[in-house]
Amino acid sequence: MSHGSKSVRTISAEGLARVEGEGSLRVRVHDGLVTDVALEIFEPPRYFEALLLGRHFSEAPDITARICGICPVAYQMSACLAMEDACGVDVGERISALRRLLYCGEWIQSHALHVYLLHAPDFLGCADAVELAERDASTVQRGLDLKRVGNMIIEAVGGRSIHPVNVRVGGFYRAPDPSAIARLFEPLRRARDAALATVSWVSGFEFPEVEGQYRFVALRSPGRYAIDDGRPGSSGGLDLSPAQFSDLVVEEHVERSTALQATLGGNDHYLTGPLARYALNASMLPDVAREAARAAGLGDVCVNPFKSIIVRAVELVFACDEALRLVEAYEPPAAPSVDVAPRASVGTGATEAPRGLLLHQYEIDAEGTILRARIVPPTSQNQLTIEDDLRRVVEGGLELDDDDLQWRCEQAVRNHDPCISCAAHFLDLSVVRS
């Protein structure tokens, strides 16, 4: 919607589509300069933290999984790691490998959803995935097949593809039968080929020339591309334990938002997610993913946020390849879970959700009752950086007419695949020019 006069110009959109959650976006432009960018979020985001208080520590994975329909595994995994950290438990290699396989499934389904159905339509001038499918059914079918393979993994390991039920603190309720895991092999081989085709496809899109100045934050894990564990690191040289990182992250309310916005130490904006993971860990990618990245024209670091779609596609290749490796190596653990006895303590867990680093911290008492809960989702960490991106995009796109600028802004938000239901929930967009 557009209103125009000589002094004031307003652009607004009723709902920013293809972003998970509810919120709104407002941009003010005065004499050609962007004076205010605000990503507004409306829903009380800390309901789940409050809900956890007084509950038993073993309930945290299932309760927090309900925060997000797209990335429940991430919530389960960070909750498990935090509780196991509090209780001084190591689940061992086989359970960890199974968790990593489950997490690969979530990365595959979430990245396929975002690349094909939410983000690609932006680059191809389609209003949405439906229009894209009506124009190019076979490509969308490829994306849906990829997404389905991700869901197959989650179902095989997690017991159900939507909101998995097989995860518990200490491991799993039941270890999957080897034959069930072996059945994933052929679909995953096809999925890896489809992921490679995805990289080729998206690298042919036209990208706006925008360069962000990012402070990247991602987990690092020795010898591998971090997903399910690791130490938070940054492009500025940070190397912290999850607990130290939790101490450094400051979350603050701003008037326009009911969600908390995170900074490092109260000042520094930062970015988590695919661009950050790639910048910090690209050398850990398997050859097949690194070669795909090179062929797509990616360097060691990508600072064009619009090219995050290529990075996500490269991560799809990685997740399929990693899942194949884990499937081939699968041996059921001796027991599906290890015993976890509660003790009065504080525990912190961090994993890489598809959208970025997801931190959980809990204080429990000797009976395992949760006394304090802190959940720092990727979107609240990325929110200030998304606003920085928007400022750059608007400043560089003032020559665009209202509709095109609105399109570009929405695209800029989707670059980071925000899941605002994790931070809170609807998105409207308005741009005011004066």
Partner: protein
């Protein structure tokens, strides 16, 4: 892909038990699945897109969801989605209100998407229950709880129609 072991009827409850009356869809679907052995409950779902994994080769998809349409709370409505000719999206988008995200593809869009890629079910019907309370942390309101048996009966009736026709 057609799954050899797929049931011909699926019931999908949309919504979240954490959001008051939004939880009615999964509750009804779960009850139906305990009564009808020929039916697979694929919920609880939060995204219409997730239906795509289950629609291919299916004779009937019943979506059960909470509704906000200014009707009396607890009112149960059945809306037939026209798989071949398209659907009245405005009506359906208004009716099916339990989906908590704005990924931009509502149920009507997902059906169009399914048609475009050749994965549409033969029939898709929405059973909507008018809700009144959707706030986080609330349970089903009494009026919606009282409507659950009627919603279950209507879903079972739809399933029986498929079996009669088969």
């Amino acid at each position: 892909m057609t799954r050899d072991d797929s049931p011909r009827v699926i019931v999908a409850g949309f919504g979240s038990a954490d959001r008051g009356d939004d939880g009615v869809g999964p509750l009804v679907a779960a009850r139906v699945a305990t009564i009808s052995s020929a039916t697979r409950d694929v919920g609880p779902l939060s995204e219409p897109l997730d239906l795509l994994d289950y629609c291919d080769g299916v004779d009937l998809v019943v979506v059960v969801d909470a509704v906000r349409s200014n009707a009396k709370p607890g009112t149960v409505r059945v809306v037939e989605m026209n798989v071949e000719a398209g659907v009245d999206e405005s009506e359906v988008d208004t009716l099916v209100d339990g989906v908590t995200s704005t990924h931009g593809i509502g149920l009507a869009g997902v059906l169009r998407l399914a048609r475009a890629v050749g994965r549409a079910p033969t029939r898709l019907v929405v059973v909507g229950v008018e809700g009144e309370e959707f706030a986080l942390g609330h349970e089903l309101s009494p009026s919606v709880r009282a409507a659950v048996p009627e919603a279950v009966r209507l879903v079972l009736q739809l399933i029986a129609e498929v079996n009669v026709c088969a």
